[in-house]
Symmetry: C2
Subunit: 328 residues, 2 copies
């Protein structure tokens, strides 16, 4: 199959363009009509076989959806909604075309869920499968949330429990053997994460939310990034660790908290919420989404991140999360 034929086959898989996207795959560039009252946002992520995914650990469809969700999560973290996406796919010589059609079916399913048009792309020859996804979104200026903006006294919150994705990775690596529902939960968290798009837009629209980002590289790494941008420090009091991660940590003989601090690729949102508004916002969040908005701790003026035990003792938290260049 040559380049034009493969691009045509891939274009057929992704949904037809929505009305705001005026021109999709097949020209030099994709064209859309930006919303007049909004800001535009753009994010890019590259995923590489053997580094970010292992085709023996999940299906090609899951690999495609997962790559797309990672970018949607960045859009969610800005309080924005996705509009259109472009894909650059790198294909090794001799690889089965059906794999890439499956990968695109995963992308298409994820894009359809997010009401996002896959409007352009590039196919090229690479040594291993490489997928570079770019997603463009939009957000009202008043709903845009950055990493900068957290204030001392703000509650540190997450949109869900952490550690499931890392528990799934431990299962796939053969490090631990979970069973039943918890095994399924952990594997699904790793293989089929879902970006918190609705939650991101909802939190973005609240004036009580001062800063936001997604937790893609582990809480310790990403909280340090948010603190650095905001010029504050943080006291972590409670780590919301999911049951699967507690079990996996128990089997490995490590503190369950490490699964939250040093996890990654789970795409819950991390936000700074006005301390006085937290209880009310969490109640509204529960009513809207049927889930908890977990309070992890409190931002403070002093630099650095510490874990405060029940005894009041503070232990510095090292950055132990995923670093693309060092965590190999």
């Amino acid at each position: 199959m040559n380049e034009d034929a493969l691009i045509a086959a891939l274009a057929e898989i992704v949904a037809p363009a929505r009305s705001r996207v005026l021109l999709g795959i097949g020209d030099d560039a994709a064209v859309w009509q930006p919303s007049r009252s909004h800001r535009s946002v753009v994010t890019t992520d590259a995923l590489v076989e053997g580094v970010h995914f292992d085709p023996s650990w999940m299906s090609w469809r899951e690999i495609g959806a997962r790559a797309f969700e990672a970018n949607l999560s960045d859009i969610a973290a800005m309080g924005a909604r996705p509009v259109l996406a472009t894909i650059a796919l790198g294909v090794p010589a001799g690889a089965a075309t059906e794999s890439f059609l499956e990968l695109y079916r995963g992308i298409a399913a994820s894009a359809a869920r997010a009401d996002c048009t896959v409007a352009g792309g590039d196919v090229t020859r690479t040594p291993v499968v490489t997928l570079c996804v770019t997603v463009i979104g939009e957000v009202r200026a008043t709903s845009l949330k950055l990493r900068a903006g957290a204030k001392k006294g703000d509650a540190i919150v997450t949109t869900g429990k952490l550690g499931a994705s890392r528990a799934g990775l431990c299962v796939l690596r053969g490090d631990v053997a979970l069973e039943g529902e918890r095994r399924d939960w952990a594997l699904r968290a790793y293989r089929a994460p879902v970006a918190r798009l609705a939650e991101g837009r909802w939190l973005g629209a609240s004036t009580s939310v001062h800063a936001m980002m997604d937790i893609s590289d582990g809480l310790s790494t990403d909280l340090a990034r948010l603190c650095a941008r905001s010029g504050v420090g943080a006291v972590v009091e409670t780590l919301p660790v999911c049951h699967a991660a507690v079990d996996a940590a128990g089997a490995l003989g490590v503190d369950p908290g490490t699964f939250a601090l040093a996890g990654g690729e789970e795409y819950e949102l991390l936000a700074a919420v006005d301390g006085r508004a937290y209880k009310h916002l969490a109640a509204r969040f529960r009513a809207r989404f049927g889930r908890e908005l977990f309070r992890v701790g409190t931002f403070r003026a002093e630099d650095g991140i510490v874990l405060r035990g029940d005894d009041g003792l503070e232990t510095p938290v090292a950055r132990t999360g995923w670093d693309s260049l060092e965590s190999q």
Copy 2:
């Protein structure tokens, strides 16, 4: 150097954001304010070491600029101007950091020339150097030019002579030995191509231009793509081949025309111009840019592309240009 440190070093190299770009590198996504009266366009290209470039053939700075110009060329082909860009850089373990700083200096120089802000990016670990560039631009709805739109009777035009980049590739491969100015010209065409941004916007603004694209994969391949989108065929009468390509073809004992038909990566624009307006437009183009707008032939209703000789005989033209998946 860890991920955050490398991103910070790279962010320092690229120019500070222009006023319309509200947030650059360092958050989950880049943010900009789209122009109210324009359409937005986006294009993505991936470049891979050993496939699209060879670090022994050019400097890292040239590799960066070249990758960026390839995307700018797609923006030019829509009649648009670039606004902002994101970069996903894949770095092999153990590679020298200075290489990537140089690569980014090349990107920064190209972006500055184009008045385009590098506003976001991602750094990741890859087996070989991989660079995925996404450029977002904007264009007035009335200036937007697509591949579709060419009509029978339209002149087929190019913004420059063809074949220089392929001549440069032949020199680098050791297939031919050019000398002096022609050698320099060919090598510069291959190593340091420049997207026809001003020409693209100028042609886009003309109602006599019915369709446009850039010639990145060779005239035979790209003219076939434009014909397919427009539902027309083409008669090629004259191939504008540069002196360096004529010399290289002579040394190889092949028809110089093959250097234009099967070249690639030279980024001249290919356009369909109203047949009656061509002479006037070419005179204005010469006055504005000091160069020729070459007439290659004429679009016609019958499918297929033919080369018409001085004797009036027509020979079908096969697609002999670059195909990312088959031309290895």
